[in-house]
């Protein structure tokens, strides 16, 4: 149904365009004056007045139709006294019967009645849907065609409309973000209604199991997230230990030492690293690096577990090298050439110039790059799910199993559970913490980078 209505709208806007074009030509010929804008703008004007009202009708139908029909069907349903109904199941049954009459066998008469009611409502809705689309398009075209006079500045109006469209598009992303934040906050509030926020932030026991059946003798769950934060932090530190030196030195090489040719080849190659799906890094961490870490741990007498903070952190470090190297390379490059010349002109060698002039000048930008990399590291999921383990150990030993915020969110959401118990709701609280941390890191990082850019450009 909605496909054919799209065809209808397409036909409508096409004919409105043609109509608008020929109409303005006719009108200006009649008045003997030249129109203020080119004919195409008048055509676009009519087109927009056809298209947007039709789209509004289209989407409101798509969103509300089913809900309204269901409400009418349910409110007219002949409930039998004393029987217990589950509304969701009942609706599903009615829909089934209406879509496929062969399911009607053996169903109660109330359901069959409701199903035919449902079908007829759908038909009515469909007919009125097409009618209202056609009417609204005609009305739109009618309104617009009254403006089709040579002295009307169609181009100005179109530009204003285009601006509205652009504003609408950009606000979609913003409102989505706001929506996500609010859903995080409200679900977290539900979690904190059951688990105290102090327990969550300061207690060190993470044992998010709750009795599934009533009377089950499982222990009460406890939700102290400290081991999770500690694990996240540990993995992040390991990752930064790998990524900062490698990334920064790579950037220095690329920006200061590499010839144009090498740079042109190496930089895109590095950026490909950033494009590898993180689950692939996860395999790599689990299959190659983790056993190596375990063997290495044993060889120096530390009992390493098969998945460890070290393995996950090292691979994550490799993953974020391109972030650091690419961003740092950009900031080092934007240090003005005149500073290099000044330093070299005094007789400093290249290393002194880099160490004493270029890096200090680029430092704010480089720190910004580090912060962005950190926020990327703590938000990373797949590598740690596969390679860091799920045990909430409060430990500083990187050879041990640890778990991170993102892993615990995955764990909490696995399985068929309703969002009505602290175990699943804890995902939102953890998500909120993660969101707040990365948000702050990003804001600080972007501020630093911006301030630095302002100084030199």
């Amino acid at each position: 149904m909605f496909f054919w209505s799209l065809v209808l709208i397409a036909v409508g806007i096409f004919s409105s365009f043609i109509y608008g074009r020929s109409r303005i030509k006719l009108n200006s010929k009649k008045q003997g004056t030249k129109s203020k804008s080119l004919p195409n703008y008048y055509a676009q004007y009519v087109l927009m007045w056809c298209l947007f009202p039709a789209l509004i009708v289209y989407f409101s139908w798509a969103i509300f139709q089913e809900q309204i029909i269901q409400n009418i069907v349910i409110s007219n349903f002949e409930f039998i006294e004393g029987a217990v109904y589950n509304e969701g199941l009942l609706l599903a049954e009615i829909r089934n019967v209406s879509n496929n009459p062969s399911f009607a066998d053996g169903k109660s008469i109330e359901i069959i009645n409701a199903a035919s009611h449902y079908s007829s409502l759908r038909q009515i809705s469909q007919i009125s849907f097409y009618t209202s689309i056609i009417i609204i398009m005609l009305l739109g075209a009618l309104y617009a065609s009254q403006k089709l006079k040579p002295e009307f500045h169609a181009q100005h109006t179109i530009e204003k409309y285009i601006q509205y469209i652009l504003i609408f598009c950009s606000s979609v992303a913003i409102f989505t973000t706001i929506g996500i934040v609010f859903s995080l906050i409200f679900e977290s509030l539900r979690f904190f209604a059951e688990v105290s926020i102090f327990e969550f932030l300061f207690s060190t026991e993470w044992y998010p199991f709750i009795p599934i059946r009533e009377g089950q003798t499982a222990a009460e769950g406890s939700f102290g997230a400290v081991p999770i934060f500690a694990g996240t932090f540990l993995v992040m530190v390991v990752a930064m230990c790998v990524a900062v030196p490698l990334g920064l030195l790579t950037a220095i090489y690329l920006a200061e030492y590499a010839s144009q040719r090498v740079r042109k080849i190496v930089k895109p190659l590095l950026e490909i690293l950033a494009g590898i799906p993180t689950i692939v890094y996860g395999f790599f961490a689990f299959v190659s690096v983790a056993p190596f870490v375990k063997a290495f741990g044993q060889s120096i007498g530390i009992d390493a577990s098969p998945t460890s903070a070290l393995a996950a952190g090292m691979v994550m470090g490799v993953m974020i090298i391109p972030f650091i190297s690419s961003l740092s390379d950009d900031v080092i490059n934007s240090v003005p050439q005149s500073l290099r010349e000044a330093s070299l002109g005094i007789g400093a060698n290249k290393a002194e110039t880099i160490k004493k002039v270029i890096l200090p000048a680029a430092l704010p930008g480089i720190v910004g790059a580090f912060l962005l990399a950190i926020s990327r590291a703590i938000g990373e999921t797949m590598i740690v799910v596969v390679a860091a383990g799920t045990a909430p150990n409060l430990t500083g030993n990187p050879f041990e199993n640890v778990t991170t915020v993102t892993v615990q969110i995955v764990v909490a959401l696995i399985g068929d559970q309703e969002f009505d118990n602290p175990r699943t709701l804890s995902a939102f609280a953890l998500g909120l913490v993660l969101f707040v941390i990365t948000l702050f890191l990003n804001i600080i990082a972007l501020q630093i980078v911006k301030r630095y850019r302002e100084r030199y450009e």
Binding site: S259, E341, A342, I346, G347, A348, P360
Partner: protein
């Protein structure tokens, strides 16, 4: 006759396949100001940057021929560029102080060359360099402020102080006043006149008045060739070459 400080002989410079300088030969005397003049793109800056091997920074730039500084060949693989550049200071077209304090800007050279043993010594060098550059009185109370907070003319004098802090013998100036207002320019020109007593100075300039005011020798470049060189007075009053005549009278360029 005073001694030759810099002796260039048949210097060719190529940027990739494009030749920028054609067999430049020049004799620059000690403790004189030599002005290089000529229209844009004539190669005067390129020549200047050969003298302290600054062209090394440009990958595609090839220099051949001979330049001797104090009778020592510098266009050679074996030249110690670092010590060469500590002997030849350079001041650039646009003031380019480091984003450090005024003090650290001047202290940079002496520190990396290990010229000082103590903090007091360093302070002394910084102060005397700033004095020689005529900047000390203006900044003595704010040596810890960033060098970039100074005005354009002050920044340029800071760059001069930075260059002379390593005690060079030669100072190269690449259009040092082109980014400055007339008053700042006048101050720098006066300064150049004073510095001449202790340093050999080569200055590239677009302003013929400036060349006439500050220099003793003038070299006129055109399309990568050295057309005429001689006493400034003579070049500006009675040049031998008609091209020079045309340029200084403003007929082209």
């Amino acid at each position: 006759m005073s001694n030759s400080k810099i002796l260039a002989n048949g210097v060719d410079v190529y940027y990739g396949s494009k030749q920028a300088l054609f067999g430049i030969s020049m004799d620059i005397k000690e403790k004189e100001v030599t002005a290089l003049i000529g229209p844009s793109g004539c190669g005067k800056s390129t020549f200047l940057r050969c003298i302290n091997r600054m062209n090394d920074l440009i990958e595609i730039c090839k220099v051949s021929g001979s330049i001797k500084v104090d009778n020592e060949e510098i266009i050679s693989e074996k030249t110690d560029v670092v010590s060469l550049r500590s002997k030849i200071g350079m001041v650039f077209q646009k003031p380019n102080p480091f984003p450090k304090s005024i003090f650290d800007n001047v202290a940079y050279g002496p520190t990396i060359h290990g010229l000082v043993d103590s903090k007091n010594e360093l302070e002394e060098i910084v102060h005397s360099s700033l004095k020689k550059a005529g900047l000390f009185d203006e900044v003595k109370d704010r040596l810890n402020e960033p060098g970039t907070s100074l005005s354009g003319g002050q920044q340029q004098r800071l760059c001069i102080a930075r260059a002379i802090a390593v005690n060079p013998e030669i100072i190269l100036m690449d259009e040092p006043c082109s980014a400055l207002d007339p008053i700042a320019t006048a101050i720098i020109e006066e300064l150049i006149d004073e510095l001449r007593l202790n340093y050999t100075i080569i200055i590239v300039t677009h302003s013929m008045q400036q060349a006439a005011r500050v220099s003793q020798k003038t070299c006129f470049f055109h399309l990568g060739e050295l057309i005429e060189t001689g006493e400034t007075n003579k070049i500006f009053t009675n040049p031998d070459n008609t091209k020079t005549q045309d340029y200084i009278t403003g007929r082209f360029g």
